[in-house]
């Protein structure tokens, strides 16, 4: 069962537990309808997010990655999102080096009370991903092809 063919894109979200995951919950409680594409991975803090998670996802076929944390100054862990902001911005600037559209990755800040903002972010980001072609995939490598023929 893959992403609903033609309807959905593969979008992965990394959300900090305290603010943005709560914001997404608030959006749910408020029944703020959103596109269904996004799948959310919960992490304690945006500072926990290794930029390589994002790159790994994008190289593995994700069409988009969205990271959201507490607003700067409001980090549950005081400083995590400050470090995250620098790392994530670096990551965004590295993406075009491998031919990945930087628009496939966005990071933002949503607090636990901002259900409506979360709806906006998800809706906008999903629309942004739908405007891009599906993510590029690696061609099958020759030996895999060979393996398949053998097996």
């Amino acid at each position: 069962m893959s992403v609903l063919e033609g309807k959905e894109r593969r979008i992965i979200g990394f959300l900090c537990n305290w603010c943005s995951y709560g914001g997404a919950d608030t959006a749910g409680v408020g029944r703020f309808s959103q596109p269904t594409d996004l799948r959310i991975i919960r992490v304690p803090c945006s500072g926990r997010i290794n930029p390589l998670f994002i790159i790994k996802a994008l190289l593995s076929g994700a069409d988009g990655v969205l990271v959201s944390g507490c607003h700067p100054r409001d980090c549950h862990y005081a400083e995590g999102n400050f470090y995250a902001r620098r790392r994530l911005e670096m990551c965004k600037q590295l993406l075009p080096a491998v031919g990945i559209d930087p628009l496939r990755f966005e990071y933002t800040w949503v607090s636990a009370s901002e259900g409506q903002r979360w709806q906006q972010v998800v809706t906008d980001f999903t629309a942004q991903i739908h405007q891009l072609p599906p993510a590029l995939r690696f061609s099958e490598s020759p030996d895999l092809e060979l393996l398949r023929q053998c097996g």
Binding site: G22, V29, C45, Y77, G80, A112
Partner: protein, 652 residues
């Protein structure tokens, strides 16, 4: 691993837009899943029993619950599996309610999404390891920030139960807004008769240490072991010596100081005690008006003071306190209604705020309980009350309802009639919000017994005409414009977050909403908790609240604090960072970024290594993302677990 999957219907909350049975069926094909089912209410008693039985029947050692947000029921299911003998950290939740069923209507897409979230949870669970909390000693003391009625209630409840309480109050007296009120609704009983004895109890209770004229400067540490720095503001009076005799206030030659306690209705002296029942009853010098500071000459109070308490050179002091829990009870501030140009923006002396009116009504207030127009001291006969000033008004950034203005306006209309029997009150309102016990009856009394004329509509303009104020509004029920010539206009100013509430929130690492009110852990499940362990909320700092609700919340917060500190030791959350010594090269990057100084350098057989101080680590994982060789891993959120989640999603 033998994994069981439980997919919740949540009645129709999930099942209406997610095919829970199909999700459960799909989960049977996932690696290591040996049992999968769908249940009506997984969190209910039968639901939890079902999990426990399945664990026993199928020898499960890991459970995935696909239901609501883990922020809601993760603790519930952790306790459930623990009852069945499985480590509580061997549970993962897939959030298929808040993140799926409630935000989309397409059942096919939702079911597919829910299945993928379950697969993701299964893949993460496969890498979960049992975790065991450690215990640490807790300081059995509590800090209460704010000495209004909510904070007083919390402090007294905690102190009575045997906890040591440190109370910090910004003003020179406790009592908060309630101390300024004349009467309270819906009983019209005297505010100070209720609050006064409680204030005295605070002062006299052996377990309570009170810092008035003080603010919280910094907070460090964590639940059970907070270190609080308190800044004692300059009062120019040595409170150790001051007896509160009031001689200085009688003799002070600067008699036109702004009276903060009386909201500027009537002046006070530069050295003053806010009101006779103040706790602590100590004098404070207002430097802005004190002649010693404005002209360099005076010193009358220093000469007169029988105990020699006056100290013009006093400096700020910092005090340190160790506490195990913190309760924020910082209350609210009144909206500054001068934002309304159409109400004169403060140009008309006879347009006043509701709290100013309250001071006028108070027998111990600046007018001795007589209602007088500020402009000419005359008794008003026509009083117009305007509700929703700074409430339900998006144009000034206050779209929320302040909740209590309807009630206090009704009270003030009643008191107006009591004070001036031949007066007529008009109340402009948009809706009457009176949902409390005996509340609506109270507003009806204002209309029926006391003859207040209620007019449904806003007021567009107030302007003076002669010695009257023309109030032009609308009566939407009559569908017409209306005008009243008033002697006095009282604006029911709404509540807003206390000054610099956001600054305190940042110090406490708790969240606040767009308007500066503190955010509770969960509106229903954790109404007085915050998302920061050991920090609780009481009263209007969480949102506008009337006195009964504030007191109830004050007691609720106390109950939570008492529960937390009922034992000498607390269990630490084991979801913290761990160093794999072989992999660590001792570069110290983790030490540099850790916001809690929870990592230190150690020597391990002559090599530099990082070491996590378990009681200090808060489990943010910043170090994990910093370490290039992955030598430091956040338990329960390891690189491999997150990668497994990513791969599970990309594989689909």
């Amino acid at each position: 691993m033998r994994i069981g999957v439980f997919v919740c219907h949540c009645g129709s909350n999930i099942a209406a837009t997610v095919d829970s049975a199909a999700v459960a069926a799909a989960a049977r094909d996932f690696d290591e899943v040996v049992f999968s089912t769908d249940t009506m209410y997984t969190c209910s008693e039968p639901g939890q029993t079902g999990i426990i039985e399945a664990i026993k029947t199928h020898a499960l050692d890991g459970v995935v619950v696909a239901a609501c947000s883990p922020r809601m029921h993760e603790p519930t299911f952790r306790r459930a599996v623990e009852r069945a003998g499985v480590n509580r950290y061997m549970v993962e939740m897939a959030n298929i309610r808040e993140h799926v069923s409630w935000i989309g209507k397409d059942k096919e897409a939702n079911t597919n999404k829910a299945t993928e979230l379950v697969r993701m949870a299964v893949e993460k669970l496969r890498l979960n390891r049992p975790l065991f909390p450690k215990t640490f000693k807790a300081t059995r003391r509590v800090l209460v920030i704010g000495g209004g009625v909510a904070g007083i209630q919390t402090a007294l409840d905690c102190a009575e139960a045997g906890l040591e309480v440190v109370m910090v109050e910004r003003e020179s007296t406790i009592g908060g807004k309630m101390a300024k009120l004349d009467k309270t609704f819906p009983t019209v009983d005297c505010s100070s008769c209720i609050l006064g004895p409680k204030m005295v109890d605070v002062a006299q209770h052996p377990n309570i240490t009170l810092y008035a004229s003080a603010e919280v400067e910094a907070v460090s540490g964590f639940v059970g072991n907070f270190e609080v720095t308190i800044r004692k503001k300059v009062t120019c009076v040595d409170w150790e010596k001051c007896t509160g005799c009031g001689l200085c206030t009688e003799k002070c030659p600067s008699k036109k100081a702004y009276n903060r306690f009386d909201e500027g209705v009537g002046p006070t002296t530069a050295i003053n005690i806010p009101f006779p029942q103040a706790i602590p009853k100590k004098a404070v010098i207002d430097k802005e008006f004190c002649r010693y500071f404005t002209t360099g000459k005076c010193g009358v109070c220093a000469k007169i003071c029988p105990t020699g308490a006056i100290n013009y050179e006093q400096q700020e002091e910092l005090a340190q306190e160790k506490v195990g829990a913190i309760v924020a009870a910082t209350g609210y501030d009144l909206f500054d209604w001068r934002a309304y140009g159409e109400y004169g923006a403060g140009r008309y002396p006879d347009v006043i705020s509701s709290l100013q009116y309250e001071r006028m009504l108070s027998a111990s207030g600046p007018t001795g309980g007589h209602i007088k127009r500020p402009s000419d001291g005359k008794e008003p006969k026509t009083v117009v009350f305007i509700q929703c000033v700074g409430s339900r008004d998006a144009s000034i950034g206050r779209p929320y309802c302040s909740g209590f203005c309807c009630m206090y306006t009704a009270k003030q209309a009643i008191l107006t009639k009591d004070h001036i029997p031949d007066s007529q009150s008009y109340v402009f309102y948009m809706d009457i919000r009176a949902p409390g016990k005996a509340y609506d009856e109270f507003t009806r009394r204002a209309m029926e017994e006391y003859g207040a004329q209620y007019v449904r509509g806003r007021v567009a303009l107030i302007y003076p005409k002669g010695d009257k104020l023309v109030v032009r509004g609308t009566d939407t029920l009559m569908s017409s414009q209306v005008e009243v010539e008033a002697d006095l206009v009282v604006l029911a100013a709404g509540a807003e977050a206390a000054r610099n509430a956001s600054g305190l929130a940042e110090k406490l690492h708790i969240s606040y909403d767009t308007y500066g009110f503190f955010v509770e852990g969960h509106p229903k499940l954790r109404p007085v908790e915050t998302n920061t362990a050991g920090v609780f909320l009481a009263g209007a700092c969480q949102g506008p609240k009337d006195i009964p609700s504030s007191v109830a919340q004050g007691s609720a917060a106390a109950a939570k604090v008492l529960g937390l500190l009922s034992k000498d030791v607390l269990e630490s959350d084991p979801q913290i960072a761990q160093v794999t010594l072989q992999r660590c090269i001792g570069c110290g990057k983790c030490i540099r970024v850790c916001p809690f100084q929870a990592i230190r350098e150690t020597d391990f057989r002559g090599q530099r290594k990082a070491e996590v101080i378990e009681a200090v680590c808060q489990g943010c994982g910043l170090c994990n993302a910093t370490c290039p060789q992955g030598a430091i891993q956040l338990s329960h959120f390891t690189d491999n677990q997150v990668l497994a989640e990513v791969e599970a999603l990309c594989r689909c």
